[in-house]
Structure formats: C-alpha cells, structure tokens
C-alpha cells in the first residue's frame, strides 16, 4: 500500500515536471516569435510614420504640385514644393555612380571568377569587402577634398560642390558590392557548362561572356539592383560633396541637392515639430523609400525571370 502511494506520487511529480517543461518550452517559443515579430514592427513603424506625416503634408500641398512643380523651396517666404529637383539630383548622382560601378564591378567579378588564381581570389575578395566597412562620411571627405580638387585641375571652372565628384565616389564605394555579389553568382554556374564551352574550342573570354555571364544573369542583375538601391539611398557623400541647393539640372558638373541631402539639411537646422517644413522631410523620405522599393521589387522579378535551374 505504501509502495503504491510512493509510486503514485512519483508519477504525479513526473507529470507535473513534464507539464512545467512543456510550459517553459512554449514560453520560450513565444518569446522567440516576439523577437522575430519586432522586425515586422519596424517595417510597420517606418511605413506608419512616413505615411502619417506625409498625409499631414499633402493636406497642405496637392500631390499634383508635389510631382510637377519644378522648384523645391519649402523654407523660403514663397515656398514651392516640387520634388522634381531633388529626384533629379538623386538620378544624376546615381547614374554617374552606376557608370563607374557597373563596368568596373562586372569586369572585376569576371576576372576574379574566371581568370584569377584561387589564392588571388581569396585575398582580393575579403579586401574588397573590407572596403565596404569604410564609413560613408569618410568617402564624403574624399569626394569633397580629393576628387573635387582633382576635377578642378582638369576643368578649372568646376564648382566646389558638384554632383560628378559625389557620383564618382559613390560609384567607387559600391564597386565592392556589385563585384562581390556578381562574382558569387558567376561562381555558382556549374563547371560543366564551362567545360562544354572549352571543349568546343572557346577561349576563356568567350566562355565568360557568352556562357557564364548569361547563366549568372539573375545574380548579376541582383547585384546591379543592390548597387542602384545603395546609390539612391546614399546620404553622407552627397550631403558633403554635392551641395545643398535644390536645382533642376541634368548637368553633373553643377551642384544640386538630392533627396537624402535635403533630409540631412533640414535635420541639421531646427524646424518646429509639426510644421509643413518638418513634414517635407517625411514626404521626401516616402518618395525615397518608394524608389528603392521599386528597384528591390524589380530585382526580385528579374531574378525569378532569369533564374535557371541546373
């Protein structure tokens, strides 16, 4: 009888400890789920804040004026709220950056993946990735105090602030991103495709350009899109080197503010919370976010379309 009671008690204890373990496991799982959901909360926060403040902005300024006015002077006594000059500045610096980064990044990627010896690849690639750790404000210093004076020795009448030097430096800055991701994509192309090309008598260049590059196009497109998205969102280089004056011009030798530079400029001053001037940076930020979103989505779509299964 006594033994039976002890057994019963032991059984109950075992059950309750199992229950406890179960509860603890569940609690931990929900804690981890909570951590995962914070990332969603951040997105909700970003979209929520930008949309909320932009609604306040568009209550004062019509969407039509925002999109078609060719002047951006929200802080003047006679304010104009046309986003075009800022978008134009962003587009010009981004295009200049891409003209540098896409050819250079692609060539470096092809060289590293198809020509370079293993030891060389193993040293160059981490070194290039290390460069992406250089703070952007340091790149801004280069653009203003190194590239611009260099340009001025070529063309003496280049102004101290110009989009060209900012664009060139952003281009150099994103070369490691473009080359690193494209190289990964090209290395993922199976060796037997290369061997097939070699067997037909193709040189390495022919193999690289006509077999490997097209097969890796999905990853390479993703690399370009990543680069574009970075160049659009880049802030410090343009804020330091491209000037703060919103100007509607396609000439990269002129100074002009980008969307990001404008946000920095307003943040450096102290505009009262809730004023239209304060809301302009959120409307600008929303435009910026939408532009990068378009590129990210386009990248995903392209990636799917070109994806080949080996």
């Amino acid at each position: 009888m006594n033994a039976e009671a002890v057994l019963k008690k032991a059984e109950a204890l075992r059950l309750s400890s199992r229950l406890l373990t179960h509860v603890k496991e569940k609690a931990i799982e929900s804690l981890l789920l909570f951590a995962a959901l914070t990332s969603v909360a951040i997105t909700v926060g970003i979209v929520g804040v930008l949309v909320y403040e932009s609604i306040g902005f568009f209550r004062h300024i019509s969407l039509l004026e925002f999109l078609t006015d060719t002047q951006w002077t929200p802080l003047f006594s006679e304010p104009h709220y046309g986003i075009l000059p800022l978008v134009c500045g962003t587009v010009v610096t981004t295009v200049v950056a891409l003209l540098v980064a896409v050819p250079m990044g692609s060539l470096i990627a092809i060289y590293l993946s198809e020509y370079a010896a293993r030891s060389m690849r193993e040293t160059i690639k981490p070194a290039l990735e290390l460069l992406s750790a250089v703070p952007t404000v340091v790149y801004g210093y280069f653009a203003l105090l190194f590239v611009t004076p260099a340009l001025q020795t070529l063309w003496p009448d280049v102004p101290g602030f110009n989009m060209l030097s900012a664009g060139l430096v952003i281009g150099i800055m994103i070369v490691p991103y473009v080359s690193s991701v494209s190289e990964d994509a090209m290395r993922a192309v199976p060796v037997h495709l290369r061997e097939g090309a070699f067997a037909l008598g193709a040189t390495r260049m022919q193999t690289a350009l006509r077999v490997v590059f097209p097969s890796a196009l999905s990853g390479i497109t993703a690399a370009y899109v990543l680069g574009i998205s970075r160049a659009i969102g880049e802030t410090m280089v343009v804020a330091i080197a491209a000037g703060m004056q919103p100007t509607l011009t396609w000439n990269p030798l002129e100074p002009a503010a980008t969307m990001t530079a404008y946000i920095v400029q307003v943040s450096l001053g102290d505009l009262p919370h809730g004023s239209v001037g304060y809301q302009t940076i959120f409307a600008t930020g929303l435009t910026l976010l939408l532009m990068t979103l378009v590129f990210n989505v386009a990248g995903h779509v392209l990636k799917k379309r070109y994806r080949q299964v080996y």
Binding site: E29, A35, A36, F142, T203, T260, T292
Partner: protein, 318 residues
C-alpha cells in the same frame, strides 16, 4: 551542281589551316587583352581606394595625438578634440549591441529552428529581406517621428542606440541564420535522440556550435553601425558637445545611474561631418584626423571578426 561546288569551296576555305590558325590566334589575343583589362581595372579600383586612404592618413596623422583624443570640440581648430565623440560612440554602440543582439539572435533562432511553414513565417522572411534594402536615413526619419516625438525619448543616447539597433537588426538576423544553417541536422537529431527538448537542443548544441559565425556577423554589423551618420543626424545628434554624459556608475547606492540615457549625444562620424562641413582648412585637418581614428576603429572590428571566424573554423570539424 553549281551550288554543290560553291558549298564545297566554302568549306574548303573555312578549313584552310592558315585561316583557322589566324582565327585562333586572334581570339587568344583577345582573350589575353581581356584578362589584362580585368586586371588593370581591378588594380585601378584598389589603387584609387588606397590612394584615398593614404591621402586621409597623410592629411590627418599630424593631428592625431593624445591631446586630440582627450579634448572637447572647440571653436579653435587647434584646441579641438574628440573626447565627447568617442565616448558617445562607445555608449551608443553598447546600447545598440544590447538591443540588437538578443532580438536578432532570438528572431534568427525562431526562423531557423521553430518557425512553421505558414503565411506568418513568409511575411517575416520577406519583411527582413526588404528591411535590409531600406536606406539608412529612412530609419532615422522613423526614429525621429516615433522615438523622439511619439515616445518622448528626446534626442538622446537611448534614441540613438535604438535607431542603430533597428538599422542593424536585419543584418544580425541574416548573419545568425546563416551560421545556424551551417550546423548539420545530425547534431539536432542526436540531441533529440537522447531526450533533449527543442530549447535544450538550441541552447546547448546549435547555438554554441554556430557561435563563430554568429559572433562574426555581430561584429560586422556593429562595425557598420559605428560608421553610420545619416540616421543619427536625422534624430538630432549635436555636433558640438563640450561636456560628458552623466556617468553610468555612481558612488551612492545603487551605484548605477541611467541618467546618461537621456543626455544629448554625439558620435565620431557626426563630429567628423561637422568638421568637414566647415569652410576652414584647419577644421578639415581635424576631420581627417577623426577619420583616421574612425577608420582604425572599424578596421579593428573587422580584423577581430576575421580572427574570430578563423579561430572557430579551426576548432570545429564536422
């Protein structure tokens, strides 16, 4: 008949050994030139960057001194220093790490080990991929609207730390997930086989084995945060702070003070930006000196990450 002859002569012509040889030579030459071009472009990219870094060091090294490190910013370029900036950077990084690392690791463990395949998991995954592509200044705007004005945290260390934590969270999650994925499933199965619960498996096996990769990812993410400028300008970093925040340690009970969390802040890149945007050359030299120190900080963190990765890789053999 005529067509037949024509074709034959054409084939004869194209297998003429001289033509073929010339062709091969030409494409080999092109191949060589292409390889040379690739090498030149790569060398050019590396050289340009090296030249820029050397220029920065050349401009700034003369200004780097102990006095520079322990002085507050000043109106006079020759007396200005970075004391408030580097202390600010350390405090902000501390807050960032304290927030981003547990949240990022938790999220990664959930997604990699727990998450069922359903719409919510898909949503979180897509969301993280997209967050990684959001420009950093947008995080600053969000922090300005939400943390500064909605939660009334002010333009403080706390706001700065949380802003950067949100910014690097996707990076931390992605790096941790990669590290967890590298642990072979047999390890987990072995743990389950001896009766471990899921959490015990994760805590005692999966996470410790992937610690090398996780640590590397964390250090790299933090080194990115050290150099971030734009989001902190947006939340209102001050670039001229000639005082230190309240000390986190006090002499009286309970010896810890959280007053510093709400003090105004500055960090290294902000200080550097402030000096760059002044017109005088003397301040540009200060900026270069701050840049040298900032660069050394990030490079040291990256070197640490590489060492950590190498050490852990050596220790674990599957």
């Amino acid at each position: 008949m005529w067509l037949d002859m024509f074709l034959k002569s054409d084939i004869d012509k194209s297998i003429n050994p001289n033509v073929v040889r010339r062709r091969i030579l030409r494409s080999r030459l092109r191949d060589r030139l292409f390889a040379l071009g690739g090498l030149v472009v790569m060398a050019a990219a590396c050289l340009v960057l090296l030249a820029l870094l050397l220029q920065l060091a050349y401009d700034g090294m003369g200004r780097v001194s102990w006095q520079f490190v322990i002085s507050y910013p000043s109106r006079f370029a020759s007396q200005a220093g970075i004391l408030s900036a580097w202390i600010g950077t350390i405090l902000v990084m501390f807050l960032t790490a304290l927030t981003a690392i547990p949240l990022g690791m938790g999220a990664a463990v959930y997604l990699e080990e727990y998450a069922p395949k359903n719409w919510m998991t898909d949503l979180i995954e897509i969301n993280i991929a997209n967050l990684a592509g959001v420009p950093s200044i947008v995080y600053g705007l969000m922090a300005l609207g939400l943390l500064v004005y909605e939660f009334h945290l002010g333009q403080s260390f706390l706001t700065a730390g949380l802003t950067l934590a949100m910014l690097i969270l996707p990076m931390v999650i992605i790096a941790t997930r990669e590290a967890l994925r590298a642990v072979p499933p047999q390890i987990r199965e072995a743990a389950y086989a001896v009766g471990a619960t899921k959490w015990q498996t994760v805590r005692d096996h999966v996470v410790p084995y992937s610690m090398g990769g996780i640590l590397t990812g964390m250090i790299l993410a933090l080194s990115r945060a050290v150099g971030e400028t734009a989001p902190l300008i947006t939340v209102g970093a001050l670039s001229f702070i000639a005082f230190l925040p309240h000390s986190p340690l006090t002499l009286e009970f309970p010896f810890l003070s959280f007053q510093w969390l709400f003090d105004p802040f500055t960090v290294m890149p902000i200080q550097m930006f402030n000096w760059i945007s002044r017109p005088q050359d003397e301040f540009h030299i200060n900026a270069a000196a701050a840049g040298v120190i900032l660069l050394l900080m990030t490079l040291a963190m990256n070197a640490l990450a590489i060492t950590v990765r190498a050490r852990f890789r050596k220790r674990i053999h599957w």
